[in-house]
Symmetry: C2
Subunit: 152 residues, 2 copies
DNA sequence: CTACAACCTCTAGCCACTACAGCTTCAAGA
DNA sequence: TCTTGAAGCTGTAGTGGCTAGAGGTTGTAG
């Protein structure tokens, strides 16, 4: 009694690229791209030259996906993968990468928050239906009052 | 008594691209790029084919710069410029663009904040110097516990 | 055996610049 | 007036991280 085919497929040891894509949530084209830039090792091929992935590939691609979801640059992920392949792992380095990225994220948040405040100010004036002859949004962009005091 | 040359230069009615760059804080290459994509109109040229900008260009480029600093896409700025050129200004449309952008910024902030929380969690575990045999950063990326419950 | 989905490679496109190569022009000092 | 060197010019290619499409081949269910 061998399992039905549909079941077999989901348990299969070796899968084509579409199945890998489904399993990891990474698009087929993106998988090929990761291979091209050397993030994902080249898999075996079928007789007809189609990619066949094993368990190790699934794991590695999931790692990459998690890293990207957390906003790590592909270069950082490359390093993290290398570290994770290292037997005596250099946790320091991994931590440094994560800490640096965290700082970048915090910087980005800070910048976006001041942007948000500025935009909210502009948009509110405008939506308030003030009887301005000119539009507050356009005015804000044309206005130099913000930049004169820092140089140009 | 004509003004000294240095002074004259800063008051000049017509300026080369480098001076425009200095005045607006936009790089020379970026100015040429804006011209190429039709954001900034083609200026007059000197006999030797060099660009010569007038007051209107300075104003327009400052408008663009302010828009970019606020994170507006070049396409949005194109529309906003068109609106600002329109005599009876369509404030509604300008407001809609600003409001939409504000929403995008807020979305981005929200996404970055949850990223920040996740990264902080990961990085803290690791920096705590816990006697883990494996690195928490690497573990977090290799771990499936976060993604299993939403499908892959 | 046939139909058709899934796969293949290769190339170009996205955004908003940035950088370079290889040239010409401008302007200040001697 | 001549020389030097900064600043200008055009055109092309590269950045990151994919995404889309053309035009062909392979795998597999019925």
């Amino acid at each position: 009694m061998r399992p039905a085919k549909a079941l077999a497929k989901s348990l299969e040891r070796v899968v084509p690229i579409g199945t890998l894509a489904e399993r990891t949530g990474v698009k087929v084209e993106t998988i090929r791209y990761y291979e091209q830039v050397g993030l994902l090792p080249e898999p075996e091929r079928s007789e007809g030259n189609q990619r066949r992935y094993g368990r190790a590939h699934v794991e590695r691609l999931a790692f990459i996906k998690h890293g990207r979801d957390l906003g790590f640059a592909v270069e950082s992920i490359r390093t993290l993968l290398r570290l994770s392949d290292t037997p005596g792992m250099a946790c320091d380095e991994a931590h440094a990468i994560a800490a640096e990225h965290l700082e970048e994220v915090r910087d980005k948040i800070a910048r976006l928050r001041s942007l948000e405040a500025e935009l909210a100010r502009i948009a509110t004036v405008c939506s308030g239906g003030v009887a301005a002859s000119d539009c507050a949004v356009i005015e804000a962009l044309a206005d130099h009052s913000h930049c004169e005091h820092h140089g140009h």
